[in-house]
Amino acid sequence: MKTARQPKYLRTPGRTLDAQLHLLDRQVLDVDGVPVTTVDDIEISAPPPETPIPAGTPAPTLTALLTGPVLGTRIFGGRPPSSRLIRIPWRDVADVGVVIRLGVRGEPLDADWVERWIRDKIIARIPGGRHDPR
């Protein structure tokens, strides 16, 4: 533990992101500023668990923001099968600030399917559902 008490300072080039602090549980907006979801978890390209990592293995990268059932398992434990993860690929992310902005429209994303379903099957069918309140 001695090492922990007298830590060295590390200067890294480029911008630093801490997952808990800057990414998890932040609101995700699409390119038009429409809320898409919240970051429920993050996927990284790490090697399979329990296998020793050979020295010199390149660092994993952040591949996608996750949403959907993964929120339930993050809260209550367990893990959804990989096929049930709803991914927003990192290449679609345009900016990380107080909110996370995407560079694409939210409409066609998988993360928005429940919203689309409820809109098309219920809300848009009620008279005035497409009425602009302003």
Binding site: T3, R5, P7, Y9, L21, E43, P49, A55, P60, L62
Partner: protein, 115 residues
């Protein structure tokens, strides 16, 4: 791999001594540029010896207000350190094992807690 699986996992040194738990994962955006943002590479893990619970945003920043809350949380987070990816030997489901001779870096971010 899902980050949620790693957060909260106990961390051990090569001799099996328990050092704490994974409190956070740090990324740097200095990889080759992707479509919109540069790739975010895993720089390392933040290990906290006392608690891996949420720090309500007081992690590793210079933020010191409001007075007792900031101090209380910083105290709960005392002794935490950053280990680089290169120093990680195995990431398992119930332990993260570090390599022989790992280096503990200060987990502090600079002033704004951002760039």
């Amino acid at each position: 791999m899902i980050l949620g699986d790693v957060l909260g996992t106990p961390v051990h040194d090569p001799a099996g001594l328990r050092l704490g738990r994974v409190a956070d994962a740090r990324f740097t955006m200095n990889g080759p540029p992707g479509q919109l943002l540069a790739d975010a590479r895993l720089l390392g893990l933040i290990v906290s010896p006392h608690s891996a619970s949420s720090f309500l945003g007081y992690e590793r920043t210079g933020l010191a207000r409001p007075w007792p809350i900031a101090h209380l949380l910083r105290w709960r987070h005392r002794g935490s350190f950053l280990v680089l990816w290169a120093d990680i030997d195995t990431i398992g489901t119930d332990t993260v094992r570090l390599r022989e001779g790992f280096t503990a870096y200060s987990p502090a971010l600079n002033d704004t807690g951002n760039e």
